[in-house]
């Protein structure tokens, strides 16, 4: 019987690449290698129609996914309205709408 101490061991916030399963992230990068060219400028997030209304941050979510942090990413990606403004501003020419659909497909288990 576990004792109640009034607190629990905090879960680490660190991204642990060793523990994360990178299989999906590898698959995603294989299908969309250009996603690796993101330089984190944040243009996509700055123009984002959904980001204007919510805390949705496309750049952060896909960066986390590339590091194998999938939790919550699908739900976040579902905030995207696919309007395509991000694709028009990406200085690296990343097919961001394709990325959204790819992430939703890979992470939504459908």
């Amino acid at each position: 019987m576990a004792i109640e101490f009034g607190y629990t061991i905090s879960k680490p916030r660190a991204i642990d690449i060793d523990r994360n399963n990178l299989r999906k992230s590898d698959e995603i990068l294989r299908e969309m290698p250009e996603l690796q060219t993101c330089i984190g400028c944040g243009s996509c997030t700055a123009v984002c129609t959904a980001g204007n209304l919510t805390s949705f941050n496309f750049r952060r979510v896909h960066t986390l996914v590339r590091r194998g942090e999938y939790r919550g990413a699908y739900e976040e990606m579902n905030k995207c309205m696919l309007c395509g403004k991000c694709r028009l501003v990406c200085p690296r020419g990343i097919n961001t709408r394709g990325v959204v659909l790819l992430l939703k497909r890979k992470l939504g288990d459908f």
Binding site: R13, I15, Q36, R67
Partner: protein
């Protein structure tokens, strides 16, 4: 014929001597080592074109040899003056002008002991890696192939903690180049580059960076590694912040490559003192003017070529050597 002593027989020194000879001046190259070439001897291929460094080195050496330029090797300079150079063995060489092309010193990665260079196996510097490439054999200390490799940019650059405020310019692109070479050598390996900024200022650099990302699938993580520690299976655990996600990040790697920066030579101080020259805050020689006198020392008759004044790429170094030689020749004409 007027005589100019070129101190340093690396890329800058050789190029300056060649230009002086072309301008009808008699150069004498004084080299501390037993052969010419300087740092160029230690590189495998050159960014961003992957040109073998040996090609450039042998071409420069061939030109120097064919021009009949006199090279004094194994000679360390202790003091300079516009018309006199003093060697450590006490000899004084007379001349009409001096071109200082003594280059730089590689940052000693052991000073950043948290990265474990010299302490753990499989922590190597970018210079070590060039040597391994040149020998054609890159492997972990136990001889096996690395499966995950991390590069750390800015080791000994832009770091107040080791009194190196300046940017060494070449490490970013070197990191990209070496990451690509490793990825080609070990296609199954994951390569991570930890950077503070990616400074892709040169022609073809950004293109190479992009290729490294897209074609080679090299992971670029913005964040500086804080420390490396050994794991039970002989790997290294590294920690950093993935600043673009705002989360700490850790992982174990088989090999950690430290991209060591350029440091001012320790003897710059003595040379500067001997001739009354000024040094910049970073310890490199300060040129007469940052715009109109980039290759001239504040003292008439002393000229600078290459990385003695600041970190530079090889291309920039060679251009500057030409400019320094021209300036020296003009000075002698006057």
């Amino acid at each position: 014929m007027k005589k100019v002593i070129v101190i340093g027989g690396g890329a800058a020194g050789m190029q300056a001597a060649l230009r002086l000879r072309a301008r009808g001046v008699e150069p004498l190259v004084v080299e501390r080592e037993t052969e010419t070439g300087g740092k160029l001897r230690g590189w495998h291929v050159l960014f961003p074109s992957f040109t073998p460094a040996g090609e450039l080195l042998s071409e420069l050496r061939r030109r120097v040899r064919e021009s009949g330029i006199e090279v004094l090797t194994g000679a360390t300079v202790t003091a300079i003056a516009p018309r006199r150079v003093t060697l450590s063995d006490g000899r004084c060489l007379a001349c009409d002008a001096v071109v200082l092309a003594t280059g730089f010193t590689l940052f000693d990665a052991r000073i950043k002991e948290e990265y474990g260079y010299g302490i753990y196996d499989n922590v190597v510097t970018s210079a070590d890696l060039e040597r391994m490439f040149a020998q054609g054999r890159v492997a972990k200390a136990d001889g096996t192939a690395p499966r995950r490799i991390a590069f750390l940019h800015c080791v000994g650059s832009r770091d107040e903690k080791v009194c190196q405020q300046h940017c060494s310019r070449v490490c970013c692109i070197t990191g990209v180049k070496q990451a690509m070479e490793l990825r080609r050598m070990f296609p199954a390996a994951d390569v991570f580059n930890f950077y503070m900024d990616m400074r892709m200022f040169g022609p073809g650099y950004e293109e190479l960076y992009r290729e490294a990302q897209q074609r080679c699938n090299i992971h670029f993580v913005r964040g500086r590694i804080s420390e490396a520690s050994p794991t039970i299976d002989g790997r290294l655990q590294i920690k950093a912040e993935d600043t673009l996600t705002g989360r700490p990040l850790r992982m174990s790697v088989d090999m950690l490559v430290l991209l060591v920066g350029m440091r001012a030579n320790d003897d710059n101080a003595a040379l500067a003192a001997s001739a009354g020259l000024a040094r910049s805050a970073s310890g490199f020689m300060a040129p007469r003017d940052l715009f109109l006198g980039r290759v001239s020392a504040p003292v008439e008759g002393i000229f600078y070529a290459g990385t003695v004044t600041a970190p530079k790429t090889l291309g920039e170094t060679l251009d500057e050597a030409t400019a320094a030689a021209d300036a020296a020749a003009e000075y002698l004409k006057a």
